[in-house]
Symmetry: C2
């Protein structure tokens, strides 16, 4: 049986070919993956219904089953993703800058792929395809380990990926899928420093925490979004309510949805009742601070609520004295994903964008915009919430690193 | 007594002020550090001679004592470093790009400091000053842990840094020095994930390996340089010898010096004797492969020699059949620092720069150019040999990260 180490080594070896593969060849493979998925959609759907059936039998929650379940529409969305990623610009080989040094040397900072990437994710079959095509396009080989509830779906999808690779100039090991169901294989992947350059966990907070704490391979944390909106003393009430409703209810299960609203004390008694009314109309459960509870009919928030990513129709609200205290609260409780200030005070918006320590800081906008597509990256493999390697949406460009190429004329250092 | 955790927390807290400090204020502090060092040079030299005396008594090797020892000239070099770093452009707040998205949102990718940096380094007192001023200038607070042989020198220098900070608008905890001499304090620093964003070990291979294997804080590996030069079939002989002599002998203790020369088989019988003669004239010990030994009078290289960073007047030489095998050797044995091809064949130079996996890849130049100053960065805190976070010289820019600032007009996602 193939071991995790062998698969990692194969992907690592395939990188040597992939890292210099022509854009046109990579695009052909990616499009072919789409075609294979379309052609084999019946088999994929069959495999998926097996997974869904087992998951339901095990009592997996409805939202998780929804993430797991495929249908014609979702198959088509995967095929479209392949088309879209094939059409994106290839970052590899792009020269970030060139300069001629005083000594006559010509130096070019050039984008190159990172190496072999390890992806650990939950039971969402579309992540299998997304991760494979984004890594291929950016010249990185990849070792995938999806959630065991999606096992059959992932194997069926990986068959399509393998077929596309086998008919191409690329080694089929550019994408390796760990078909071991045990947790041990995840542990091995997390410590395969010889072969894996970067590990990207994608999923809930528990998964990411587990990978971060147990991995010796560098980790790119993604996804946990405890996002905030601060409503300043002179914000427009109606528009602010629209923004909050959008940020909470447009797709409450996403990481860029708002989880806590902070309200300036000066406007709380007037603004809070309006906001509460609008939220309740959208069936949002509200956990408020003590002051909130004295103004409106809401549930009592505990210290834990300030840390929570509800990922559903629930929200926490706190009244704060000023923008400084709003920033302090955010920097203390946030997951450093996305935060927004709603204000007509330029000084306060400047303070907020400068002092808030998150990947995306908004002025007068919904936090829902933090997304590779919205940012113009075309696609994303996840949203980074850490300070180094990458921040915010991780697109093709963020899946590359750089090297310096220096040309001289038998130049020596004086 | 102050604990490591307390000091890390203090530096972490100081970052809140430092991260938005005006460039002019930071420059004033950095210049003041230089003034304090100059004013207190007698005390620093006294503390240093105590360290040197103890090190000699303990039988520390001559090159290490040389790195430890300060004198008037080296004091002045530190003062000049302060002037120079104060004069460099501040990367913080620089906007990498701004774009208006289709939905009207204005997005700016902005450079910001990384956070609190941990520096673990060997007994070179100038690193204390370099690290402090580069971190300050780039808006990062820093926790320093220097080698115990330089203990008194570092404490004297940190006194100067503290004095400069105390007379300024910045918290004095922007720079914390761990004055604990035990290894336990290093272990604590390496696991202070709550407060330290990035750890930079600087020194020999053993230190870096130790930090990398025992740290849960992300590590930026620096310094180990097993650098290569490949002499291609049609390289100019005389000029190639000049480049190799420069790369090996100009400053043999540095990480960008060449350690292994690869020679194309076609020219070996002619070129090798000339090279050996030139190297011997410069007292360089030569370890050659079997073929080398059949052509010239050299020592026998073992497998271990291909991995070695001699850091002195010694070199390994291997004869290879072609550029592909040169690249294969380099990617197998190199520390991914700097490699060079000497050739007049454009195809081969292209192959070499594309396929060699190192931070700096040269065509017709000495590897000695890999250096922040030479690259036009003004100064550097080290040279990264890893693929992610940063590659090659780590200057002010590489000590920053980014965030997105997005401005809308109460914009909601449709």
């Amino acid at each position: 049986m193939t071991t995790v180490r062998q698969q990692c080594f194969r992907a690592y070896s395939a990188f040597e070919t992939l890292k210099i593969m022509k854009t046109s060849v990579k695009n052909r493979i990616i499009r072919k993956i789409g075609e294979e998925i379309l052609e084999n959609s019946n088999d994929i759907l069959k495999a998926n219904s097996l997974d869904v059936h087992t998951a339901r039998g095990k009592g997996v929650s409805a939202p998780l089953v929804d993430r797991l379940e495929l249908n014609e529409k979702r198959i088509h969305a995967m095929v479209e993703s392949c088309e879209k990623v094939a059409a994106l610009e290839d970052p590899v080989g792009k020269i970030q800058y060139t300069s001629i040094l005083e000594n006559g040397l010509k130096i070019s900072k050039t984008r190159i792929p990172i190496g072999t990437i390890g992806m650990i994710y939950e039971s969402r079959p579309n992540v299998t395809v997304d991760a494979a095509i984004l890594c291929l396009k950016s010249g990185n080989s990849v070792v995938l380990r999806g959630g065991s509830d999606a096992f059959n779906s992932n194997v069926a999808l990986c068959e399509c990926i393998k077929k596309a690779l086998e008919g191409s100039e690329a080694p089929s090991s550019c994408v390796e899928y760990l078909a071991q169901k045990d947790r041990e294989s995840v542990g091995m992947l997390m410590n395969m420093r010889e072969y894996i350059s970067l590990l990207i966990p994608r999923g809930g907070g528990e998964l990411i925490k587990f990978v971060k704490e147990n991995s010796t391979v560098p980790v790119l944390e993604t996804g946990v979004g405890n996002c905030h909106i601060f409503v300043d003393y002179n914000a427009d009430f109606d528009k602010s309510i629209d923004v909050i409703i959008n940020a909470k209810t447009q797709r409450p299960g996403t990481c860029n949805s708002v989880e806590t609203v902070l309200i300036h004390g000066e406007i709380a008694s007037e603004f809070l009742p309006l906001l509460v009314k609008a939220l309740k109309k959208h069936n949002v459960e509200i956990y408020g601070c003590e002051k909130c509870n004295s103004i409106a009919d809401v549930l009592k928030a505990t210290e834990e609520d300030w840390f929570r990513e509800y990922l559903g129709l629930a929200i926490a609200i706190k009244i704060v004295d000023d923008v400084e205290l709003a920033i302090e609260h955010i920097n203390k409780y946030s997951s450093h994903h996305s935060e927004s200030i709603l204000t007509n005070d330029i000084e306060n918006s400047k303070k907020f964008t400068e002092l808030v320590d998150s990947a995306a800081v908004y002025v007068n906008a919904s936090t829902r915009f933090t997304d590779g597509e919205q940012f113009g990256f075309g696609a994303e493999i996840g949203i980074s919430t850490q300070r180094i390697i990458a921040r915010g949406p991780v697109g093709l460009n963020e899946l590359t690193t750089y090297k310096y190429v220096i040309e001289g004329d038998y130049s020596i250092r004086g």
